[in-house]
Amino acid sequence: MRTVIAVAGVLAGSLGVLFAAPQAGAAPGPCPGASGVTVVVDFGAFGGGVEVGCAPGDPSTGYAALVGADFDVQGASRSPSFLCRIDGQPDESLDLCIMPPPATAYWSYWIADRGKDWCYSSAGMSGRDPQPGTVEGWSFVRGSGAGGTAAPRSSTFTPVAGGGSTGVDCDAATTATTAAPRATVPRSSVAPGTTPRQAAPAPAGPGVDPGTGVAPGGGQPAAPGATTTTPTVTSQTTTAPSTSAVAGADTTTSSTEPTDGEHSSDGTAPDGDDGDSEGDSEEALSTVTLADSGRSGPGGPLGTALALGTVAAVAAGAVVVNRRRFRVSADALSIEGVSGDGVSGDGIDPTG
């Protein structure tokens, strides 16, 4: 009995080491260079748009890439390797996220090299290591049957020199082809209530759009010192962000990020061809909702201490009551043992 309590105590103590805050430091928009993994999430099934983020460095799993790109990820309670919610979608009315999501409503996982077609990933989010310079896509699939799967409605961005490869060669005919590039909304990494987009020295820099094959036209981004409040969300014109501008964007965005993951609204439906969409994007991006307001998240150490104290008190009560009631230990040589050999003593008397 004592060993049971000791082992449980050691387990609980070692788990106390593992409470870490979520990482921060991602940048909006696709990854500018060959390092980092671009993550595309298509919220079209919920009436939203496509959001693009960049997980810096080399994330070790698809899950880490999602978290590194500042998406709020939740796996199913019973099987955490099954992705259930991204940024709170689908919410509890559709999926309680206890069991793994059904095949008729789930987040499908797509991978692609930059500039190539989307391929349906055969491994799960924790089962593969995305290469830096590749693109990961998540798109929510509803409905059953083969016609239900659809790749994210985004291009896979222009290839960069030195980018990695997924190593998967999928036939363009068998995978869902990418739709015409839609205006994508880069991940807002700004705290709610503050002015969105403090960062961008390049007004069109972070607001980069998928431009497959479109030659980088348009003006070069403004000087890094300029602080425009919102990026323009354009659809057809693209600007290849210069690395210096985006590097400036990176550092400034990271300085305005709060430590807690924030969430942008899923209702951001950017207008397709609206070139002058400063106002649009501002109101779209500034509707930031805190998706975890409805959750009673984990409490602090005081709550844990109280709760565990209650449990320990009840368990100690059980041990004490047991000791007090059965003072003679159930030893082999005690009275109950020796005379318990008869038929009536061993509990097999059928008449009770």
Partner: protein, 361 residues
């Protein structure tokens, strides 16, 4: 001496509550409450002494779960612990992964699942320890008598094994065999298994000599009616259960099938009860302590179910959030309700005398 049905209802209520949650603190509290009630109200009969083996079994279950999760699929998380060497699998098995990254979130979720299963088993073990299995057999209605006989003999295997292990241990200690090199199979497993089997056969023979297996003759028509109604009833129950779980068929098919299945099975059981010719001698009474104990179990189960619908994030916490484990105060109060049988049930004589008529007032 409480009616055994009350203990079983209480234990099943606690088990139902445990099956609905994966909150570490809540599960640990259910465990502690069950242990408290067992300590306070168990008898000193040999079959009532095996509770610590259920606790050992619980620890083994948690350990096995964690080991399998670490080996097979522990990558879903951000707090990386270590990386096991990955076993390369052919492309056809691309969805399976052996080894690889191990994250803290996955380990914690495995501990949660293991603790849930362990709590379930401990609740059933508590029912075994608190409720006299022979009195339970005596309280079953005649229609279920034959089933109950088989279940009782099967249920007595576990406590029987415990008793046999204690006897074998005692004999070895008296012989001086403890401390020398032990061949586990030859010295412990074989004697214990043989002893348990012998005692089970003795129990069956004793029950048979008292007339437990005898059946009264009924007409051929009644026999046919019994068979037909039971088989068709079970078929309807199967179809109804499947329909209730399937999303497309829905309740339009499930409800009538389940109703028809229950009705037909009930008719079959009542008819087959006519074949059994037993009377009950001094049946256990069911009075207010029994109702109170059973109500406690049902209330705990109902409260946890309601809270799981109301506050799912606390009762079934997300595996991707590692934080200070806690449970809502209302859930903890509801579970503490389940400790009331420790005072509501009648007290047993606290004696170390051998079990027998003295221990069953």
């Amino acid at each position: 001496m409480l009616h055994p049905g009350a203990w079983w209802i209480w234990a099943l209520g606690m088990a139902t509550a445990a099956s609905r949650t994966t909150n570490l603190v809540l599960l640990a509290l259910i465990l502690a409450v069950v242990a408290l009630v067992v300590a306070a109200r168990r008898g000193s009969a040999p079959w009532a002494r095996g509770f610590k083996y259920y606790l050992y079994l619980a620890l083994i279950i948690i350990a096995v779960r964690v080991v399998f999760r670490v080996l097979l699929d522990a990558g879903a998380g951000t707090t990386e612990l270590f990386t096991l060497p990955e076993l390369p699998l052919p492309e056809a098995a691309a969805g399976i992964r052996i080894g690889g990254l191990v994250t803290a979130e996955a380990v914690v979720s495995a501990v949660r699942e293991g603790l849930r299963l362990a709590t379930l088993i401990i609740c059933i073990g508590a029912a075994n320890v608190l409720a006299n299995p022979k009195r339970l057999l005596a309280s079953v209605p005649p229609a279920l008598h034959e089933v109950a006989v088989a279940v009782t003999v099967a249920l007595s295997v576990a406590p029987q094994l415990v008793v046999s292990a204690q006897r074998v241990n005692r004999a070895r200690r008296l012989r001086g065999d403890v401390g020398r090199r032990t061949h586990v199979l030859r010295d412990i497993v074989v004697p214990v298994a043989t002893d348990a089997l012998d005692r089970s056969l003795m129990l069956a023979a004793a029950m048979d000599s008292r007339g437990h297996g005898r059946a009264r003759a009924v007409s051929v028509a009644t026999n046919r009616a019994i068979t037909l109604s039971v088989v068709v009833g079970l078929g309807c129950l199967c179809v109804g259960t499947y329909a209730s779980l399937d999303a497309t068929l829905g309740w339009a098919l499930a409800a009538p099938m389940l109703g028809a299945g229950l009705a037909l099975s009930g008719v079959g059981l009542v008819l087959s009860g006519r074949r059994v010719d037993i009377t009950r001698y001094r049946p256990d009474p069911w009075s207010w302590p029994e109702t109170a104990v059973a109500t406690c179990g049902v209330l705990v189960a109902g409260a946890v179910f309601w809270l799981a619908g109301n506050d799912p994030a606390a009762i079934n916490p997300s595996p991707s959030q590692l934080g200070w484990p806690t449970a809502p105060a209302i859930a903890m109060c509801a579970v503490l309700l389940g400790a009331l049988p420790a005072v509501l049930a009648p007290r047993l004589p606290e004696t170390a005398l051998p079990a027998g008529r003295l221990a069953h007032p």
